[in-house]
Amino acid sequence: MRHCHEDVLDLLPLPRATFHALVALDEGVAHGYGVKRRVEELSDGLVRMAPGTLYETLHRMREQGLVEEVQETPPSEDDHAQRSYYRLTPFGRRVLATEVQRIGGMIDGVRARLREAGGA
């Protein structure tokens, strides 16, 4: 699937759950529950996803071409039960990068303003 820059912008801003799932999968392949655990760790427990929300998010991310399903078990996984794993697509990584840039830019602006206000 080819995606152009417009496609990327069309998805921004990302819903919170999608954003966190992208960040989680950037660390490597994970199964559904693994994504949930990483999201909780990354957000210090602030973002929690129960099973329904989790798979709804992953399902939509797959439709949008952000992630793809793989069937092999990654070597890091000690539990070898047959299940589906999720991997970031190149498009997904681009969307994540763009979103991070966007938020980063916004945050930089806010920081600068706060600093000025604090300095005044």
Binding site: P13, P15, R16, A17, G32, P51, Y55, E56, R83, M106
Partner: protein, 915 residues
Amino acid sequence: MSGFDDGAEGLYRRLCTLLPPDFRDEYADRLVATLRRQRREARYRGVGGGLRFWVEVYADLAKTAMRLRARSSGRSTSLPATGDGRIGSDGHGRERGRRRGGGEMMIHDVRMALRSLARSPGFTVVVVLTLALGIGANTAIFSVVNGVLLRPLPYGEHDRVVTVWSRWTDFPKTWVSTGEFVYYSREAETLSDLALWSDLAVSFTDPEAPERVAASQATPNLLDVLGVDPALGRMYTREEARDDAPVVLLGHDVWLRRFGGDRSVVGRTVEIDRESREVLGVLPPGFRMPTDFGSSRTVQVLAPGYVDRESPNPMPQGGGSHSYYVAGRLADGATVADVQAELDRLVEQLQRAESVYPESWSFRALAFSVEDDIMGTTRTALWVLLGAVGLVLLIAAGNVANLYLARSHARGREMAVRAALGAGRGRILRGVLTESLLLSLAGGALGVLGAWWGTRWLLALSPDELPRIEAVGVDATVLAYALALSVLTALLFGVVPALRSASGDVKEAMGEGSRGGTPSRRSNRFQGLLVASQTGMAVILLVGAGLMIRTFGGLTRIDPGFDPENVLTVSISLPSNAYPDVASATAYWDELLAGVRALPGVEAAGAARVLPLASEIGDSGAWVEGYEPAPREHVRGDWQIVSEGYLEALDIAPVRGRTFEPSDGADADVFVINETMARQYWGERDPVGTRMAAVGDTGIVIGVVGDVIHNGMTDEIKAKHYRLRRQVPDAWGWATRTASLVVETTGDPEALLPAVRALVREADATVPLGRVRTMEDITSAALAESRFTATLLSVFSAVALILAVVGIYGVLSYAVGQRTREIGIRLALGAESGSVIGMVVRRGMVMAGAGVGAGVVVALSLSGLLSGLLHEVEPQDPLTLTAVPLLFLAVALMASGLPALRAARVDAAEALRAE
């Protein structure tokens, strides 16, 4: 995972049907797998954690389902997945201004409702808990009704199966004789076929695993009459039955247990009562004989029995031995009433032609539909309980409606403002209804979880004899019922406040607000009516519970005539080929009893053919010296066979003469009789030393013992005679092989069981131990149905009482709160605080009094429904009908007193300044 988690997970799986089908097909398994891993997380430990976990995942599932469905309706692809908005966006920028589709509108309504409920958490929690209580209790009872009454019986076209019984004086419902069976079979046109069977118990006698199981000996057409096919193999043929071929069908349980469900068992031989028999087939799972439902018995061996219907013998006087069960299948177009009418006619013809039965018997043949026969009073009890628990839900809904009304007064202004700003009536109505639906569904979900627990509790409490108890559980039907109930309840308590909100006149509402929101007289009256009806319903429940408690109390006070304390009983049956005569059976029992009596802690030990309250006893003909029976009168008595020590073990004391002793040997036959028999046939004479005959012999009466209740707690006590086993003639030898060992101990009777078990094995390793119970278990089981109904009705009526009182209290405190200003003015104008208290209490007592009065009237007309369940208590029991209203009015007085005192303490100046 605990059982609770298993149940909650099963429910989760079922609820996955809420998801759109394609999503569900792809993800349902993953959802459950993830859910299991999440369940193991440390923060969900403990009971609280577990509850939080399930609330979270159910809520998540519901939200996901709604979002996905809204999305798949194609209106919006941009709804945020978590509803939490997006990072760096304003949260709803893209939605604004777009015309809302159905799904999105629903989501909007739901979100508005959730927000509004979140603003008043106290209200939400109280309402959800109240509804959970009502819906949960209903779901639990319904699951029992569903399992026991609503599921079809395991017979083909079960509504065409009838059972046939005999009835005569002293025996309201008893067995049929073979002569009668042949007569009905040949003559009855309303029945297409009749089958006959008798119950017995047989033993698998291979020494590795001797086991005693329930068996039936039945005519070869039994399965056809019941409309059942074997799960494997075939039924025996008429020829096999006639030739007494050594063949059997196995029950499904025993097939699984002993043969591991091996299909090649058909054609193999098994050893039953030390005889080889060929297995012809296996009965289907869940199959029971129509007479097995009221007991824990399930037939595991079906053996051929045969009655020659072609060459009938003339019927003997009295009809012959009444010891068989009979079932029939209705002929095309016939009803049970037709069968009954025809049987009445047939018996009358027989009487006219041959006068088989003594006139004094008033003999009748009875026909029941198999369903009526099996359910008996259970059906009444369960419907009464379902009705009772329905009333509890109505009362709960009444409280919620009251809370809602109060809240809608408080929100009157908000609604009016929204209406003024152009929100349509439909829109406001929908909002309020969405709210009540959400509350109700939440209450329903919590209630189902509670019901899952409650059902377990009910099963533990329910009588063993509750038919089909194994079919009880929370299944799809029960869930559908709970869902329907939740929606119905939401409408019930939501509609009136919704209509009121929607019809809210803007000016009136705004005006109300400026006057402090005093509720209108119309809604005052409505609230009063609501509380009065709740009170009435609670009174009905209390009256029902009162009657059942009085019945149960009466039953527990019945003296059974024996002392059940510290008595162990074990039933044992000897195979007839190893113990062919009375002497061999007696030798076995003597050896076993000698061993048992030598055990430490044993006070007395004996054995009896049938135990009181455990299995039915029947009567047999007798002769009493010096008694002249009236013409056609038959001298009869229940016949009990015992060994010495039995009467002592149960503390059945002689009131005259003595009981059996080891010296009562072979030289003279002896009898012990009960007081009823002495009174009935000896009158003023002293029976001791006179002669009587029964069970094949003539002998001397050596003693009279106290009456013992036998067939049922409330059955009339009949004449009974006791004989020593070793004196029974061989013609009655079959009756000496099966008996219950009865051991009275100084301590815990069950502690003795290992020693008794060892002795039984020592006496003969191929004889299995039958049912083991203490005598207290047996007497307690006899009260179980009545205890079940009484306990549940008490719980329900207690809940109803509390809810109704909370209703009264709630309405009055609310009214006092609303009228603070008015009360302040009254006090400022010089009203005594006493008159203010009187005013509030009067309002409470008027509501309660009206409710109590109406409740008593309705209870009087309904209590007749209970009459089949009552014992020595009239449905119009004056004690109950006085105590309940008094109790209720007293409690209502307390509930009104608190708000009244608060009203009297209103500070006039402050109340006026507050405006």
